[in-house]
């Protein structure tokens, strides 16, 4: 998608303008983080699981081509059709071809960040195919013609009154009704009819197993399972990084995923697909779309280990207070900033700076992606490629110039400490001083530490 350059801070400030909603958003996500802490804390070997998961994923990345071939061979042996797509366009074309071959006009789709990344829905719609997102959160944003604002909780930014309004408009629920039970029941009825009418089901993939040629899809609502067990055609779309070597490795990942994502011990439905049922057809589309390129970067390739649990979004103090849309990307939050800025540093130059470098994301990550370090390293790339605003570049050059000369540092400090106490308030606190908008600047002491230290030293002699 072509974007003007994104300025995260501008959208963040706009989000925060609505104080009530900012607090509500922050609290809702913190609540998920607290549930995650409780679930993780109930597993004595949690840190061991993280280490194993991190190692399994890094191992898989080191031999990705071999494992992809093994997966293809095993899946094909079981009658699964395996497709390869280098780009988002390839992916969309392949899916369309399969659907056209079966004369499909109505598709139900469960959550898949990959198909969001490839913008599959608008593509299929342009070709006359109706695509219904069946995850409740995704259906809500689809009806509102909005993108998801979170990778696990797509409608986390929407209030129940707003959902009620949307459902009143589209599903004919009572005006003003906002009870989540009532609204969910209405969506259940609405989506049942969509499930019954669909001629094909599309799902994402949480994990694919090289050894067996099978894959696993995790949901809580059961939408993926209904969506692919009523029609005869199931298309599963997956990034090539979703692979793991052995079926036994699923134990590590199914123990981590739901606990870290939502604080559940496991998702309600953890479905393992290895072959189509009699009379059915099962297709898997393997998508690269920049992944093999990201893999060539020693600094950033660990981002490919991501299992899309969303925990780094939930814990990120910036994401919680700026909302998913302030990132202008399919995947927001810390992992999104890494994935987007590595692909397009110009457009997304501000995202690595939308971070206080607190490091919570790296500690919460189930596969130990050093997200804060990657965001820091990305700043280096952005500065190197001259995408840093001129004002910042000049300021840093100037600071460095002063700091390299001790005498100049001392002099500047002395001058500032002399002048500042005499400055009228309006000269310090104005539009140009972002620090002073909500904060006082520190009071300047009469003497610096080095001056006091010198005096102290002389006296003691």
């Amino acid at each position: 998608m072509a974007h003007a350059n994104i300025e995260h801070a501008v959208d963040a400030a706009r989000f925060i303008d609505n104080q009530e909603r900012t607090h509500w958003h922050d609290q809702a996500l913190w609540f998920v983080r607290v549930k995650r802490d409780r679930a993780a804390g109930s597993v004595a070997e949690w840190e061991e699981l993280r280490s194993r998961a991190a190692q399994i994923k890094r191992h898989t990345m080191s031999r990705l081509a071999d494992y992809l071939e093994q997966f293809e061979e095993q899946a094909t042996r079981r009658g699964v059709h395996v497709h390869w797509a280098r780009t988002a366009e390839d992916h969309n074309r392949i899916v369309l071809e399969i659907l056209s071959r079966h004369h499909v006009e109505r598709v139900v789709k469960s959550k898949s960040m990959l198909t969001e990344e490839c913008h599959l829905n608008p593509f299929l719609e342009r070709h006359g195919i109706e695509v219904v997102d069946t995850d409740l959160g995704e259906r809500i944003v689809q009806l509102r013609k909005e993108p998801p604002s979170h990778i696990v909780l797509p409608a986390i930014h929407i209030k129940k009154q707003e959902v009620g309004e949307t459902f009143h408009q589209h599903l004919g629920t009572e005006k003003g009704a906002s009870d989540p039970n009532y609204l969910t029941e209405a969506a259940r009825g609405h989506l049942r009819s969509k499930f019954m009418a669909a001629e094909a089901g599309i799902t994402g993939v949480n994990f694919a197993v090289a050894e067996t040629g099978g894959f696993v899809v995790c949901t809580n609502e059961g939408n993926a399972d209904i969506g692919i067990s009523l029609p005869r055609l199931h298309i599963a779309c997956m990034g090539i990084e979703k692979l793991i070597p052995r079926a036994a490795d699923l134990a590590v990942f199914t123990r981590l995923l739901a606990r870290n994502a939502t604080g559940q011990p496991i998702t309600t439905y953890t479905s393992h697909f290895h072959a189509a049922p009699p009379g059915g057809e099962l297709h898997v589309v393997l998508v690269d779309h920049g992944r093999s390129a990201l893999r060539t970067s020693s600094k950033f390739r660990e981002a490919l280990c991501c299992i899309r649990c969303g925990a780094c979004l939930n814990t990120c103090p910036v994401y919680r207070r700026s909302g998913g849309y302030s990132y202008h990307a399919t995947i927001p939050g810390p992992i999104g900033s890494v994935l987007n800025a590595t692909q397009d540093a110009k457009t997304y130059h501000s995202l690595p700076y939308a971070c206080s470098l607190c490091g919570s994301c790296s500690d919460v990550c189930p596969v130990k992606i050093p997200l804060d370090q990657q965001l820091l390293a990305l700043r280096g790339e952005i500065a190197e490629q001259k995408y840093l605003p001129l004002s910042k570049r000049v300021l840093m050059k100037l600071t460095s110039f002063v700091m390299c000369r001790t005498w100049l540092f001392n002099l500047s400090g002395k001058v500032a400490r002399r002048i500042m106490p005499w400055m009228p308030r309006f000269l310090i606190y104005n539009r140009l001083n972002a620090w002073g908008r909500q904060r006082e600047i520190p009071e300047f002491p009469k003497q610096s530490f080095r001056e006091l230290y010198k005096k102290r030293h002389e006296q003691s002699r």
Partner: protein, 252 residues
């Protein structure tokens, strides 16, 4: 034991008492403190903006000044994290760098890990809210991070706990970032201040009288917000509490 005192640039210029308190605490414990006056800034603001060319000469200057000290001590977790984790990018393979990296300590780390201090003499009859500065917390592992499933520990609290009369605030979010984040405080002013205000609200609820941290930078940001609000919460760097300073009347 003789140590080189590494004083962050903004502490030197804006918070001289924090550095003085650090000297006093160390000298009380029989440590010989030397402040090499050539020092300025470790280069973190430049490094964290991505300006590597502007950082390198400062890292080299730092190494030149401090490499001959047996140990280096600094009243800032963030600046020590810069030396320990980020200098590698600029000083890899330079003579003396490995020694410097292994022997640069944040003040509380030095007291607990090197001097093996079990308790600290003194009294501080106030309710203290500990702000876990992120770089000290996750960069130096000075305390248990709430994301990790591991036994609880905190080097700061361990030192403060033995002070007579001290009480601690029980926070809802034990270690959320205050929103300072260096140039982040300016670049993302709205988010930065919102984070700070939320942190302060947590302390307010918990009844914090004195808010302390191992990093004056976090406290500078929080104090700036507190002063604007005329809050009764007072700010002290942990070195000032350990040195037996009185609780200040106002905000600095």
């Amino acid at each position: 034991m003789r140590i080189g005192l590494f004083v962050p640039c903004y502490i030197d210029q804006l918070y001289p008492d924090v550095a003085l308190a650090t000297v006093e605490v160390l000298e009380q414990l029989g440590v010989e403190v030397e402040f090499p006056t050539e020092q300025t800034c470790c280069g973190q603001p430049m490094a964290n903006t991505g300006c590597q060319h502007e950082t390198r000469p400062l890292a080299q200057k730092f190494l030149r000044i401090f490499r001959d000290y047996e140990r280096v001590v600094c009243p800032s977790g963030s600046c020590v994290a810069m030396v320990r984790h980020q200098y590698e990018d600029y000083l890899h393979g330079e003579p003396g760098f490995e020694h410097l990296r292994a022997n640069t300590f944040e003040l509380c780390e030095f007291l607990v890990d090197v001097l093996k201090l079990g308790r600290f003499e003194g009294a501080f009859p106030h309710q203290v809210g500990i702000h876990q500065s992120c770089h000290g917390l996750r960069g130096l592992r000075m305390a248990h991070a709430s994301e990790l499933i591991e036994p609880m520990y905190s080097k700061m609290r361990q030192l403060l706990e033995s002070l007579e009369g001290i009480r601690f605030s029980q926070l809802e979010r034990p270690d959320e970032c205050c929103g300072f984040g260096g140039t982040f405080a300016i670049n993302e002013e709205a988010v930065s201040c919102q984070m700070g205000l939320d942190r302060l609200a947590d302390h307010q609820r918990a009844g914090t009288e004195v808010l302390t941290a191992p990093d004056m930078s976090c406290l500078m940001h929080l104090a700036g917000l507190l002063r604007r609000q005329n809050s009764h919460i007072r700010i002290m760097h942990i070195a000032q509490i350990l040195a037996g300073r009185e609780v200040p009347n106002g905000h600095r």
